[in-house]
């Protein structure tokens, strides 16, 4: 049952499909709530049958309570009405933690909500934990540790909001483990009463959208069908100069296919004509942050590293043990990629 002090996720959905990061966050919210001995909540807004149908899926991924706001005027995400909704729900129910995906939507909404609630917010977290914090003789128990890179990725900062509730954070996609759907989980769907008024209504316990909340309207939204979805890939296998030839690149492609990943490339490999520009990773290509990045025969120029060094795990395969790519990699294999890649393919086929 919903109670003050729950851990919430503000769910992002497009056409009734929940953003992956929202589901990932439900898994982490579940863990954090377990640690705190509280429940979890999911805020879900939209205006279609498909959105209503999402509620059970959110419960299956870890929500105890789904706060469903199902209205025509909430059909498209817009910062102002959604801020009114989320801030109103927070005031009514008093969660201690509210999490958002660090998407363009989450990073548009969360700061506005934080400002409306006069509370703290940490952007683009890569980890969340519960712990104690002491400062100036005061100890605060069970705070949310909001862990994120800062300063152009040169430092990792742990941020806390000791005296303000809720504690809020946006979290990057792909850094939390996607929870398994458990259809036997039970939860409650609460229909959120939302009103509409032409003039502002001063009321703490009602959620009233006003006409001024709709000062911005969506003219059009265009989703480009990308042939190569490097950004959304959970595994990227990239090849560089060390691959040696167009034929050699087929090996990189086979590894990507085997692991269910997408093919990436360094600029040099693209310039050599072994692979199309749409595969290029790096400063002038696509920035990726998959769960696993495998760099095959890539020396690791600054430009290339800028496009992949935020990957959760990096495996570098290079015949030169002194290649700079090893300085950003978590795992290194110093060897001939033409021998190592087949070993990887074989090992994965045996294990998986």
């Amino acid at each position: 049952m919903a109670s003050p002090g729950d851990v919430w996720v503000v769910v992002e959905q497009h056409d009734g499909v929940a953003a992956e990061v929202s589901l990932e966050l439900l898994g982490r919210a579940r863990e954090l709530a377990g640690r705190l001995g509280v429940g979890t909540g999911a805020v879900l807004a939209g205006a279609s049958e498909a959105v209503r149908a999402l509620a059970p899926a959110l419960i299956a991924r870890g929500a105890d309570t789904v706060y469903l706001a199902d209205r025509e005027d909430l059909g498209d995400y817009l910062a102002l009405p959604y801020t009114r909704l989320v801030a109103g729900l927070v005031r009514t129910h008093g969660p201690q933690i509210v999490l958002y995906g660090a998407t363009t939507t989450g990073r548009d909404l969360a700061p506005r909500v934080a400002s409306a609630l006069r509370t703290g917010l940490t952007a683009d977290c890569t980890d969340l934990r519960i712990g104690d914090f002491s400062a100036q003789g005061e100890t605060y128990s069970d705070l949310l540790f909001q862990i994120r890179p800062a300063f152009g990725g040169n430092i990792i900062a742990t941020i806390v909001s000791p005296e303000h509730k809720p504690q809020m954070a946006t979290v990057r996609e792909g850094v939390m483990v996607m929870p398994e759907a458990d259809d036997s989980r039970t939860g409650t769907v609460v229909t959120v009463p939302v009103e509409r008024s032409s003039a502002p209504v001063a009321s703490a316990d009602r959620i009233v959208l006003t006409d001024t909340d709709f000062a911005v309207r969506l003219v059009k939204r265009v989703q480009e069908e990308k042939r190569v979805d490097l950004k959304g890939a959970r595994v990227v296998v990239s090849g560089g100069v060390g691959v040696g030839s167009r034929e050699g690149f087929a090996l990189v492609e086979e590894l990507a296919r085997t692991l269910g990943g997408v093919v990436g490339a360094s600029r040099a490999a693209v310039d050599a004509g072994w692979v199309g520009h749409e595969h290029q990773v790096g400063q002038t290509g696509t920035t990726v942050r998959p769960k696993l990045y495998i760099a095959c025969g890539i020396s690791g120029s600054v430009q290339h590293r800028a496009g992949m060094d935020q990957s959760a795990r990096i495996l570098a395969i290079n015949s030169d043990p002194g290649a700079p790519i090893f300085s950003v990699a978590h795992y290194g294999i110093a060897g001939d990629l033409h021998k190592v890649i087949p070993l990887l393919i074989q090992a994965y086929r045996t294990k998986a």
């Binding site: 548009d108 000791p162 959304g232 074989q346």
Partner: protein
């Protein structure tokens, strides 16, 4: 027709491309003294949009920054590019502000200017990458927002009977969306939007050369707590300074701010700890390039849910 009023919010940031070990102070805040300071790149894109709108529609472009006295440099840079008016928010009471406290001070400055039609700022600053100050300033002003704007499609300047409107396109995951807003509105601008113009040689000569020659103690005027305005001057044909623009300086009293909502005191967030990636970075764990080594690695990656 009333003139279009644009406020551009800018920030002087440490150049994060060249971070060293002493970049952070023991209390976890940034040791700005240890790093070269630059104009936050996307704020330059925001200024560029403002200056282009000025060309098309006629506008008064006011640039506001909050920071230590040295942050006046980004205001100078703004004047060199064509800003009409620059304002420095500087006060010890502003120090240690997180995004909530920063947006409070910035929103008060916009209010003190009597509001405006358009607030422009960079999407995010390279020292924090939070992208929070824009939306939070908009919320405090009660302005709508369009963030992550890669193109301003259309601006209808406010006329006597209407408030005017802006249409802008923002990048979203795997696509883009176009939004229309009535004015006033706050837009955060990305680096995709434009190529910022360089400083105009003429304007640099106008403002900079003179400051050094005619007013040798120019910088100190910003440090003087008694002064609330310093004039940037140029030499006239007769060799005497002619004042062209004012660097207005506002403290918390000028903003009529609630001190509790400013600086570290007004900031909900605290830095618990900082770990330097540069120093903590360890070498890659090397795996043997044989069957056993590779198999063990693949097993580990599957166990840790890195590979599905």
């Amino acid at each position: 027709m009333p003139q279009l009023r644009i406020v551009v919010l800018v920030k002087q940031v440490p150049d994060t491309a060249n971070v060293t070990g002493d970049a952070m102070k023991e209390d976890g805040t940034v040791n700005r003294a240890a790093l070269p300071a630059v104009f936050n790149p996307e704020d330059l894109n925001a200024l560029e949009e403002a200056l282009r709108l000025k060309v098309r529609h006629g506008a008064r472009v006011t640039v506001v920054t909050m920071g230590p006295p040295a942050a006046v440099q980004v205001l100078r840079e703004s004047l060199y590019r064509g800003a009409d008016e620059v304002i420095l928010l500087t006060d010890k009471a502003f120090a240690g502000a997180d995004t909530l406290a920063t947006s409070y001070a910035l929103s008060l400055a916009v209010r003190k200017l009597g509001g405006c039609d358009l607030v422009l700022c960079g999407r995010q600053a390279i020292d924090g990458d939070t992208a929070q100050v824009g939306p939070q300033t908009a919320e405090k002003l009660g302005y709508p927002q369009i963030t992550c704007v890669s193109r301003i499609d259309e601006l209808v300047a406010p006329a006597d009977v209407a408030h005017g409107a802006v249409t802008a396109t923002r990048s979203i995951e795997g696509g883009f969306e176009t939004l229309a807003s009535s004015l006033p509105c706050l837009l955060t601008i990305t680096g995709e939007a434009n190529e910022p113009r360089p400083a105009s040689v003429k304007l640099v000569m106008t403002y900079k050369g003179i400051a050094a020659e005619a007013m040798p103690d120019y910088d100190d005027t910003y440090l003087d707590p008694e002064s609330d305005a310093a004039e940037v001057c140029m030499l006239g044909r007769d060799g005497k300074p002619v004042c062209r623009a004012k660097v207005v300086q506002w403290d918390h009293l000028a903003l009529e701010a609630d001190r509790e909502a400013l600086g570290l005191r007004g900031s909900p967030t605290r830095v618990k700890e900082i770990e330097s990636v540069v120093l903590a970075q360890s070498e890659a764990r090397m795996v043997e390039a044989d069957e056993a080594g590779v198999a063990a690695l693949v097993h580990e990656l599957i166990e840790e849910h890195i590979l599905g």
